[in-house]
Amino acid sequence: MNAPGVPAGPPGAMKVLRRIRHRRYADPAFRAFTTACGMVVALLMAAMFAVLIIDSWPSIKKFGVGFLWSKAWDTTAGHYGAVTALYGTFYTTVIAMVLAVPLALVIALLLVELAPPWLSRIVGTAIELLAAVPSIVFGLWGFLVLVPIMSNHVEPWIQSTFLGKLWLFQGPPMGLGFLTAGLVLALMVLPFITAVARDVLRMVPQVVKEAGYGMGSTTWEVTRKVSLRYGLSGIVGAFFLGLGRALGETMAVAFLIGQTYDMQKSLFGTGNTITSTLANTFAEATDSLQRSALIELGLVLFVITGVFQLLAHLWLRRARRRMGGRA
């Protein structure tokens, strides 16, 4: 940079300056910057919570806590309650988790313990690709492909067997409803649970497993009594990750749930979830009380997700402490 003959002063001064800047300001500045960035998240959460409360205030004032256990959702009469949405949210989430968790664990075990490396790599990549599919694609696929299959083949077939007598499988096989929504949800959370479970199982030390094999255990025994035990807290973490996603998933469910405001028992029944009601009706909600009630639904979901996160944290901490104590 400097032409020859220019006094050595400036570069020397620059060097000093740079050193000072580096020692005195760089670290604090970097810390301040990162703190500010971190605070943005906290502030966003606080602001979101505040806006949700402010905008749902007309509804909170009108319905009080009764909103949480009122079954009404009647836009023409102006009565609103969260129960049918909560019911549908948990119904679809339970279906999704019941289907996805065992499958995810089995796939993770296959990838880590049993599959040859080439197969493991292919299946692993496929799972990661599945995680990258946008939820609207799942929704449209569910509606255009899965629903006809369910209504023409799967649901009539189930009803023709002895299962058809159970209350779980009553009602017209329309294809739309809890079962289809739960099935697509399961596919959507599967990659997340699988990925985390796979990483957890990978971290089980080889020596521990070999000790198990050394005692003459079968692969199944080592898996069940060593790997799963060892990775339990991580697997619970994976479970909660999937659960959080299933609770909040919107577009796919909005297409498949059937959007009725009641509490049908059958798996073939239709209903609504908090997010499906928001996605389906918010845009055309012209009545101010209806908008407010919808925002209160959002608030309820916000709190529920928060509580689940908290529970997951507490559980993980307890599990970790217990494991630490044992070691």
Binding site: L176, G258, T260, A283
Partner: protein, 366 residues
């Protein structure tokens, strides 16, 4: 701890990408606002509107036609009627659009005026083997009973009585309605409320508490559901029935005549409606009189502030609507909408004369 290295790597890239995006957006926005403030001086070159999705294809066609004529662009965002109402109340747009009209009280509190800009129709579609488009005839009472769940089989004597020549199966009726809030639902439920008040007790709205049936998302969703399930019935916008070659039904109108859905029928409904008696044009065009009138018809509405801020912008906007009323008919019909009849337009123009800037009327624009 648990997270794989690969995941963490992806995340830091993601953070970088998001950061870059934010910087780019802020930069662009800054440039954009500079450009806008530079060219704003005499009149706006862009009319900004937001609201209903139902008339979106028509408004965007009109917008591009109009821009081709004189360079004034229409930026219409189809964010839904609710969003359109919020946007015009907050004055973030020049006009809002809603499928369901606001009540006069709502208009007054927010200082808005409302007028209809185009008309469309709703059609009932069915999936019945052996029954083709236009074969099945339904009366308002039958439609209401089917949607109330009191008629559950296609061979119900009440349906047979109206359709003696059809051989109807004993299939169960699968009722399909919209799962999302929609102007079409508002028009359809207004029709049931108006034409079969003793049977349809649920009321009218962009979404209602349906006694039976399942919800499908969008008119295309309802059309797809009806196609998939034998014995189903649904209601969709007219365009979807014609484009997807659906089995639409005839309906009995107020004059007792069975009619098929057609643009002429929608136009007749708009022409025969008594607009003068409806304050704020708050009128569902359902079950209107006239021998050719299609009973499930509805207008889509425009909302503007009664007290305008900027004479040039306001004049520009009303000039565009004026052009749409007078010259937009062909484009409307090509997209299966019906323009507002001239006598209604006269009333709208009278309404525009009450739109002012500090007491001075904006229309006729100079």
């Amino acid at each position: 701890m648990i997270k794989a290295r690969g995941l963490a790597g992806t995340r830091s890239w993601l953070v970088l990408a998001v950061f870059a995006l934010v910087v780019a957006t802020v930069g662009l926005a800054a440039c954009g606002s500079k450009g806008a403030s530079g060219s704003k001086a005499p009149a706006a070159d862009t009319i900004i509107g937001a609201g209903a999705t139902f008339p979106y294809p028509l408004y965007s066609k009109w917008g591009s036609d109009y821009a081709g004529l004189n360079g004034i662009k229409l930026n219409y965002q189809a964010i839904g009627s609710g969003g359109g109402i919020s946007a015009i109340e907050a004055k973030t747009v020049d006009f809002g659009a809603s499928d369901a009209p606001l009540t006069e009280a709502d208009l007054k509190t927010n200082g808005l005026v409302q007028f209809p800009l185009c008309v469309g129709g709703g059609v009932l579609i069915v999936n019945l083997p052996g029954v083709s488009a236009g074969d099945l005839k339904l009366t308002p009472d039958l439609v209401a009973k089917i949607y109330m769940g009191t008629i559950t089989k296609w061979d119900d004597p009440a349906i047979k009585a109206v359709n003696p020549s059809l051989s109807l199966p004993s299939t169960a009726i699968s009722v399909v309605h919209r799962s999302d809030g929609s102007g079409t639902t508002w028009i359809f439920t207004s029709y049931l409320t108006d034409a079969a008040p003793s049977i349809w007790t649920v009321g009218a709205g962009t979404e209602v508490n349906w006694p039976v049936g399942v919800g499908a998302k969008g008119s295309d969703g309802v059309a797809a559901s009806v196609k998939q399930v034998t014995g189903s019935i649904g209601y969709v916008e007219y365009t979807y029935a014609t484009q997807n070659a659906m089995t639409w039904t005839q309906l009995q109108n107020k004059d007792g005549k069975f009619v098929s859905p057609a643009l002429e029928g929608f136009a007749a409904a708009a022409g025969n409606a008594d607009w003068k008696k409806a304050p704020g044009f708050a009128l569902a065009l359902v079950n209107e009189p006239g021998p050719t009138t299609w009973p499930i018809t509805g207008a889509s509405f425009i909302l503007i502030q009664q007290q305008q801020q900027d004479a040039a912008r306001a004049g520009q906007m009303l000039t565009f609507f004026d052009w749409a009323y007078k010259n937009g008919g062909a484009a409307a019909q090509a997209l299966n909408y019906v323009p507002i009849p001239p006598k209604v337009y006269k009333l709208v123009e009278k309404l525009w004369e009450t739109v002012t800037i500090s007491g001075t009327p904006v229309w006729p624009a100079g």
